[in-house]
Amino acid sequence: MRLLENKRCCISPEHVRNFKLPLGYADKGILSCKKMKPSVKISILVAWLMGLVGLFIGLYMYNLEAEDLQKEKPEFVITAAGLQKAFEDNEAAANTKYSDKIIEVSGIIESVKPGEDEAVSITLKTESPLSAVICTFQSGTAPAVFKIGDQITVRGKYSGFLMDILLNNCVVVK
Protein backbone atom coordinates (compact mmCIF):
# COMPACT_ATOMS: atom_id res chain seq x y z
CA MET A 1 0.00 0.00 0.00
CA ARG A 2 2.73 2.32 1.01
CA LEU A 3 4.54 1.42 -2.14
CA LEU A 4 1.54 2.56 -4.18
CA GLU A 5 1.34 5.82 -2.34
CA ASN A 6 4.97 6.45 -3.00
CA LYS A 7 4.76 5.53 -6.65
CA ARG A 8 5.45 9.03 -7.75
CA CYS A 9 8.62 9.27 -5.69
CA CYS A 10 11.76 7.54 -6.69
CA ILE A 11 13.01 5.93 -3.58
CA SER A 12 11.96 6.94 -0.14
CA PRO A 13 13.80 6.33 3.12
CA GLU A 14 11.11 3.72 3.81
CA HIS A 15 12.07 1.82 0.69
CA VAL A 16 15.61 1.76 1.78
CA ARG A 17 14.56 0.42 5.14
CA ASN A 18 11.78 -1.96 4.11
CA PHE A 19 13.38 -3.48 1.04
CA LYS A 20 16.86 -3.51 2.49
CA LEU A 21 18.24 -1.57 -0.37
CA PRO A 22 21.89 -0.69 -0.22
CA LEU A 23 22.23 2.50 1.77
CA GLY A 24 24.16 3.97 -1.15
CA TYR A 25 20.89 4.87 -2.82
CA ALA A 26 20.13 7.38 -0.16
CA ASP A 27 23.64 8.78 -0.40
CA LYS A 28 23.58 9.20 -4.16
CA GLY A 29 20.78 11.63 -3.88
CA ILE A 30 18.27 9.39 -5.64
CA LEU A 31 16.37 9.74 -2.47
CA SER A 32 14.27 12.55 -3.81
CA CYS A 33 10.84 11.89 -2.53
CA LYS A 34 9.40 15.23 -3.43
CA LYS A 35 5.71 15.62 -2.97
CA MET A 36 3.93 17.33 -5.84
CA LYS A 37 3.38 20.99 -5.10
CA PRO A 38 -0.27 21.74 -4.29
CA SER A 39 -0.37 24.40 -7.02
CA VAL A 40 0.75 21.87 -9.65
CA LYS A 41 -1.85 19.41 -8.40
CA ILE A 42 -4.60 22.01 -8.69
CA SER A 43 -3.61 23.07 -12.16
CA ILE A 44 -3.60 19.48 -13.39
CA LEU A 45 -7.05 19.01 -11.87
CA VAL A 46 -8.30 22.24 -13.44
CA ALA A 47 -6.93 21.20 -16.84
CA TRP A 48 -8.74 17.88 -16.56
CA LEU A 49 -11.99 19.56 -15.56
CA MET A 50 -11.72 22.07 -18.38
CA GLY A 51 -11.15 19.26 -20.84
CA LEU A 52 -14.19 17.42 -19.54
CA VAL A 53 -16.39 20.52 -19.59
CA GLY A 54 -15.18 21.27 -23.12
CA LEU A 55 -16.01 17.75 -24.21
CA PHE A 56 -19.50 17.97 -22.76
CA ILE A 57 -20.15 21.39 -24.30
CA GLY A 58 -18.92 20.05 -27.63
CA LEU A 59 -21.16 17.00 -27.43
CA TYR A 60 -24.09 19.13 -26.32
CA MET A 61 -23.61 21.60 -29.17
CA TYR A 62 -23.16 18.80 -31.69
CA ASN A 63 -26.38 17.10 -30.63
CA LEU A 64 -28.39 20.28 -30.31
CA GLU A 65 -31.54 20.00 -32.37
CA ALA A 66 -33.27 22.80 -34.20
CA GLU A 67 -34.79 25.20 -31.69
CA ASP A 68 -38.41 24.66 -30.71
CA LEU A 69 -40.17 27.91 -31.50
CA GLN A 70 -42.98 26.97 -29.14
CA LYS A 71 -40.57 28.00 -26.37
CA GLU A 72 -39.24 31.13 -28.08
CA LYS A 73 -40.75 34.60 -28.01
CA PRO A 74 -41.55 36.16 -31.37
CA GLU A 75 -39.71 39.35 -32.29
CA PHE A 76 -42.53 40.50 -34.56
CA VAL A 77 -46.26 39.90 -34.46
CA ILE A 78 -48.01 40.71 -37.72
CA THR A 79 -50.80 39.62 -40.09
CA ALA A 80 -49.97 37.78 -43.32
CA ALA A 81 -51.40 40.69 -45.32
CA GLY A 82 -49.32 43.20 -43.35
CA LEU A 83 -46.15 41.17 -43.84
CA GLN A 84 -46.71 40.88 -47.58
CA LYS A 85 -47.38 44.64 -47.77
CA ALA A 86 -44.05 45.34 -46.11
CA PHE A 87 -42.28 43.30 -48.79
CA GLU A 88 -44.24 44.86 -51.61
CA ASP A 89 -43.38 48.36 -50.36
CA ASN A 90 -39.68 47.73 -49.91
CA GLU A 91 -38.37 44.24 -50.36
CA ALA A 92 -34.76 44.98 -49.43
CA ALA A 93 -35.66 46.84 -46.24
CA ALA A 94 -38.14 44.20 -45.14
CA ASN A 95 -35.64 41.45 -45.89
CA THR A 96 -33.05 43.10 -43.65
CA LYS A 97 -35.60 43.83 -40.94
CA TYR A 98 -36.86 40.26 -40.68
CA SER A 99 -33.59 38.44 -41.43
CA ASP A 100 -33.32 35.37 -39.16
CA LYS A 101 -36.05 36.76 -36.92
CA ILE A 102 -38.89 34.83 -35.34
CA ILE A 103 -42.21 36.14 -36.64
CA GLU A 104 -45.69 35.36 -35.42
CA VAL A 105 -48.08 35.57 -38.38
CA SER A 106 -51.84 35.29 -38.42
CA GLY A 107 -53.94 34.74 -41.50
CA ILE A 108 -56.32 32.52 -43.40
CA ILE A 109 -55.10 29.18 -44.76
CA GLU A 110 -55.13 29.22 -48.55
CA SER A 111 -53.56 25.83 -49.24
CA VAL A 112 -51.96 22.89 -47.44
CA LYS A 113 -49.18 20.76 -48.92
CA PRO A 114 -47.91 17.60 -47.24
CA GLY A 115 -44.34 18.03 -48.54
CA GLU A 116 -41.60 15.42 -48.58
CA ASP A 117 -40.23 14.08 -45.33
CA GLU A 118 -43.48 14.92 -43.51
CA ALA A 119 -42.72 18.61 -43.52
CA VAL A 120 -46.13 20.21 -44.06
CA SER A 121 -46.31 23.63 -45.67
CA ILE A 122 -49.27 25.97 -45.54
CA THR A 123 -49.89 29.12 -47.54
CA LEU A 124 -51.46 32.12 -45.83
CA LYS A 125 -53.62 34.46 -47.87
CA THR A 126 -52.50 38.00 -48.54
CA GLU A 127 -54.05 40.79 -50.58
CA SER A 128 -51.70 40.09 -53.48
CA PRO A 129 -52.56 37.26 -55.90
CA LEU A 130 -48.88 36.66 -56.68
CA SER A 131 -47.24 36.67 -53.30
CA ALA A 132 -48.21 34.86 -50.12
CA VAL A 133 -46.68 33.72 -46.84
CA ILE A 134 -45.52 30.09 -46.92
CA CYS A 135 -44.88 28.41 -43.58
CA THR A 136 -43.10 25.07 -43.43
CA PHE A 137 -43.62 23.19 -40.19
CA GLN A 138 -41.27 21.04 -38.15
CA SER A 139 -41.39 17.49 -39.46
CA GLY A 140 -43.94 15.40 -37.63
CA THR A 141 -46.67 18.06 -37.64
CA ALA A 142 -49.87 16.36 -38.79
CA PRO A 143 -51.41 17.88 -41.94
CA ALA A 144 -54.89 17.19 -40.46
CA VAL A 145 -54.41 20.18 -38.13
CA PHE A 146 -54.80 22.53 -41.07
CA LYS A 147 -58.07 23.24 -42.87
CA ILE A 148 -58.30 25.54 -45.86
CA GLY A 149 -60.18 28.71 -44.93
CA ASP A 150 -59.37 28.50 -41.22
CA GLN A 151 -57.91 31.44 -39.33
CA ILE A 152 -54.55 30.46 -37.84
CA THR A 153 -51.61 31.99 -35.98
CA VAL A 154 -48.19 30.44 -36.51
CA ARG A 155 -44.68 31.22 -35.35
CA GLY A 156 -41.75 30.69 -37.67
CA LYS A 157 -38.26 31.79 -38.55
CA TYR A 158 -37.92 34.02 -41.58
CA SER A 159 -35.70 32.40 -44.23
CA GLY A 160 -36.07 34.83 -47.07
CA PHE A 161 -38.14 35.97 -49.99
CA LEU A 162 -38.47 34.35 -53.41
CA MET A 163 -41.94 35.05 -54.76
CA ASP A 164 -43.38 34.52 -51.33
CA ILE A 165 -42.32 35.22 -47.80
CA LEU A 166 -40.82 31.98 -46.53
CA LEU A 167 -40.97 30.91 -42.89
CA ASN A 168 -39.33 27.77 -41.58
CA ASN A 169 -39.39 25.59 -38.50
CA CYS A 170 -42.96 26.76 -37.86
CA VAL A 171 -45.22 25.86 -34.94
CA VAL A 172 -48.94 26.45 -34.49
CA VAL A 173 -49.69 29.11 -31.87
CA LYS A 174 -53.46 29.29 -32.20
Partner: protein, 183 residues
Protein backbone atom coordinates in the same frame (compact mmCIF):
# COMPACT_ATOMS: atom_id res chain seq x y z
CA UNK B 1 -62.62 42.26 -90.43
CA UNK B 2 -64.71 40.55 -87.75
CA UNK B 3 -63.55 37.18 -88.99
CA UNK B 4 -59.94 38.29 -88.83
CA UNK B 5 -60.44 39.43 -85.23
CA UNK B 6 -61.92 36.03 -84.34
CA UNK B 7 -58.99 34.28 -85.98
CA UNK B 8 -56.56 36.41 -84.03
CA UNK B 9 -58.35 35.72 -80.76
CA UNK B 10 -58.47 32.00 -81.53
CA UNK B 11 -54.85 32.10 -82.54
CA UNK B 12 -53.87 33.73 -79.26
CA UNK B 13 -55.93 31.19 -77.33
CA UNK B 14 -54.26 28.29 -79.14
CA UNK B 15 -50.87 29.83 -78.58
CA UNK B 16 -51.68 30.19 -74.89
CA UNK B 17 -52.81 26.59 -74.71
CA UNK B 18 -49.50 25.53 -76.23
CA UNK B 19 -47.49 27.79 -73.99
CA UNK B 20 -48.90 26.12 -70.92
CA UNK B 21 -46.83 26.93 -67.89
CA UNK B 22 -46.54 24.85 -64.78
CA UNK B 23 -45.43 26.11 -61.43
CA UNK B 24 -44.73 25.10 -57.87
CA UNK B 25 -43.68 27.09 -54.82
CA UNK B 26 -43.28 24.12 -52.54
CA UNK B 27 -41.02 21.77 -54.44
CA UNK B 28 -38.52 19.58 -52.63
CA UNK B 29 -34.74 19.56 -52.90
CA UNK B 30 -32.74 17.52 -50.46
CA UNK B 31 -29.14 16.49 -50.24
CA UNK B 32 -27.30 13.68 -48.64
CA UNK B 33 -23.68 13.29 -47.66
CA UNK B 34 -22.33 9.93 -46.62
CA UNK B 35 -19.00 9.32 -44.92
CA UNK B 36 -17.97 6.47 -42.62
CA UNK B 37 -18.11 8.99 -39.78
CA UNK B 38 -21.49 10.52 -40.35
CA UNK B 39 -24.54 10.73 -42.59
CA UNK B 40 -25.85 14.25 -43.13
CA UNK B 41 -29.19 15.05 -44.69
CA UNK B 42 -30.87 18.36 -45.42
CA UNK B 43 -34.35 19.06 -46.74
CA UNK B 44 -35.93 22.05 -48.39
CA UNK B 45 -39.66 22.08 -49.12
CA UNK B 46 -39.79 25.67 -50.33
CA UNK B 47 -38.39 25.40 -53.83
CA UNK B 48 -39.98 27.67 -56.42
CA UNK B 49 -39.92 26.40 -59.97
CA UNK B 50 -41.56 27.09 -63.33
CA UNK B 51 -41.77 24.66 -66.24
CA UNK B 52 -42.73 25.81 -69.71
CA UNK B 53 -44.45 22.84 -71.34
CA UNK B 54 -43.99 24.06 -74.89
CA UNK B 55 -40.25 24.63 -74.84
CA UNK B 56 -39.29 22.38 -71.94
CA UNK B 57 -37.54 25.27 -70.24
CA UNK B 58 -37.12 25.07 -66.49
CA UNK B 59 -36.26 27.59 -63.80
CA UNK B 60 -35.55 26.78 -60.17
CA UNK B 61 -35.01 29.14 -57.28
CA UNK B 62 -34.17 28.10 -53.78
CA UNK B 63 -33.20 29.85 -50.57
CA UNK B 64 -30.14 28.47 -48.85
CA UNK B 65 -31.63 29.28 -45.45
CA UNK B 66 -34.63 27.07 -46.18
CA UNK B 67 -32.49 23.92 -45.97
CA UNK B 68 -33.32 22.12 -42.80
CA UNK B 69 -30.89 19.84 -40.96
CA UNK B 70 -31.60 17.56 -38.02
CA UNK B 71 -28.81 19.15 -36.02
CA UNK B 72 -28.84 22.89 -35.40
CA UNK B 73 -25.05 23.21 -35.52
CA UNK B 74 -24.89 21.72 -39.02
CA UNK B 75 -27.42 24.27 -40.19
CA UNK B 76 -25.35 27.08 -38.67
CA UNK B 77 -22.12 25.85 -40.29
CA UNK B 78 -23.89 25.32 -43.61
CA UNK B 79 -25.26 28.86 -43.63
CA UNK B 80 -22.44 30.78 -42.04
CA UNK B 81 -19.24 29.15 -43.22
CA UNK B 82 -19.96 26.90 -46.21
CA UNK B 83 -22.65 28.59 -48.30
CA UNK B 84 -22.45 32.10 -46.77
CA UNK B 85 -26.19 32.53 -47.09
CA UNK B 86 -26.10 36.15 -45.89
CA UNK B 87 -24.01 37.09 -48.92
CA UNK B 88 -25.49 34.59 -51.38
CA UNK B 89 -29.03 33.84 -50.21
CA UNK B 90 -30.23 32.00 -53.32
CA UNK B 91 -29.27 29.12 -55.53
CA UNK B 92 -30.74 29.04 -59.02
CA UNK B 93 -30.95 26.73 -61.99
CA UNK B 94 -32.04 27.66 -65.49
CA UNK B 95 -32.17 24.91 -68.06
CA UNK B 96 -34.05 22.89 -70.55
CA UNK B 97 -35.33 19.38 -71.11
CA UNK B 98 -33.10 18.43 -74.03
CA UNK B 99 -35.05 15.44 -75.33
CA UNK B 100 -38.33 17.35 -75.57
CA UNK B 101 -39.62 15.48 -78.66
CA UNK B 102 -39.64 12.27 -76.61
CA UNK B 103 -40.94 13.94 -73.47
CA UNK B 104 -44.48 14.86 -74.46
CA UNK B 105 -45.50 17.36 -71.81
CA UNK B 106 -48.98 17.66 -73.30
CA UNK B 107 -49.68 13.91 -73.24
CA UNK B 108 -50.31 11.86 -70.14
CA UNK B 109 -47.56 9.39 -69.41
CA UNK B 110 -44.19 8.83 -67.78
CA UNK B 111 -41.03 9.79 -69.61
CA UNK B 112 -37.28 9.72 -69.04
CA UNK B 113 -35.88 13.19 -69.38
CA UNK B 114 -32.46 14.80 -69.57
CA UNK B 115 -32.10 18.33 -68.29
CA UNK B 116 -29.17 20.60 -69.07
CA UNK B 117 -28.50 24.08 -67.85
CA UNK B 118 -26.68 26.45 -65.55
CA UNK B 119 -26.62 25.90 -61.83
CA UNK B 120 -25.57 28.78 -59.60
CA UNK B 121 -24.65 28.10 -56.01
CA UNK B 122 -22.49 30.30 -53.78
CA UNK B 123 -22.18 32.79 -56.65
CA UNK B 124 -20.47 30.19 -58.86
CA UNK B 125 -22.17 29.03 -62.06
CA UNK B 126 -21.52 25.56 -63.45
CA UNK B 127 -23.04 23.56 -66.29
CA UNK B 128 -25.21 20.74 -65.04
CA UNK B 129 -26.69 17.80 -66.86
CA UNK B 130 -29.04 15.52 -64.99
CA UNK B 131 -31.35 12.65 -65.76
CA UNK B 132 -34.79 12.29 -64.31
CA UNK B 133 -38.34 11.17 -64.84
CA UNK B 134 -41.30 13.31 -65.82
CA UNK B 135 -44.84 12.17 -65.17
CA UNK B 136 -47.58 14.09 -66.98
CA UNK B 137 -50.90 13.94 -65.13
CA UNK B 138 -54.37 15.29 -65.80
CA UNK B 139 -53.82 18.51 -63.87
CA UNK B 140 -50.12 18.74 -63.32
CA UNK B 141 -46.64 17.39 -63.91
CA UNK B 142 -44.43 15.51 -61.47
CA UNK B 143 -40.70 15.63 -62.05
CA UNK B 144 -38.00 13.77 -60.14
CA UNK B 145 -34.26 13.76 -60.48
CA UNK B 146 -31.16 12.62 -58.67
CA UNK B 147 -27.66 13.83 -59.38
CA UNK B 148 -24.40 14.51 -57.62
CA UNK B 149 -22.47 17.70 -56.95
CA UNK B 150 -19.02 18.47 -55.62
CA UNK B 151 -18.85 21.31 -53.08
CA UNK B 152 -15.34 22.07 -54.36
CA UNK B 153 -16.77 23.05 -57.77
CA UNK B 154 -18.73 25.86 -56.15
CA UNK B 155 -15.83 27.33 -54.17
CA UNK B 156 -17.19 25.85 -50.99
CA UNK B 157 -14.29 25.24 -48.66
CA UNK B 158 -14.83 22.89 -45.80
CA UNK B 159 -12.64 23.46 -42.74
CA UNK B 160 -10.16 20.72 -41.86
CA UNK B 161 -11.93 19.93 -38.57
CA UNK B 162 -15.02 18.58 -40.30
CA UNK B 163 -13.50 17.61 -43.63
CA UNK B 164 -13.78 13.92 -42.88
CA UNK B 165 -17.43 14.28 -41.86
CA UNK B 166 -18.55 15.68 -45.18
CA UNK B 167 -18.50 13.71 -48.40
CA UNK B 168 -16.57 14.97 -51.43
CA UNK B 169 -19.61 14.15 -53.55
CA UNK B 170 -23.07 15.16 -52.41
CA UNK B 171 -26.18 13.40 -53.64
CA UNK B 172 -29.01 15.77 -54.57
CA UNK B 173 -32.67 14.74 -54.83
CA UNK B 174 -35.26 16.87 -56.62
CA UNK B 175 -39.00 16.17 -56.33
CA UNK B 176 -41.32 18.66 -58.02
CA UNK B 177 -45.09 18.58 -58.19
CA UNK B 178 -46.09 21.21 -60.71
CA UNK B 179 -49.58 22.58 -61.09
CA UNK B 180 -50.81 24.25 -64.25
CA UNK B 181 -50.81 28.04 -64.09
CA UNK B 182 -54.08 29.82 -64.77
CA UNK B 183 -56.20 26.73 -65.15
Amino acid sequence: MKRLAIFIVLGILCFNANAQKYMTKSGYIGFFSHTPLEDIKADNNQVASVLDASSGELVFQVLIKSFHFTKALMETHFNESFLESEKYPKATFTGKITNIPEVKLSEKGTYDATVEGDLTIHNVTRKLSAKGTVEVLQDGINANSKFTLQPEDFNITIPAVVRNNIAKTIEVTVIMKYAAVGK
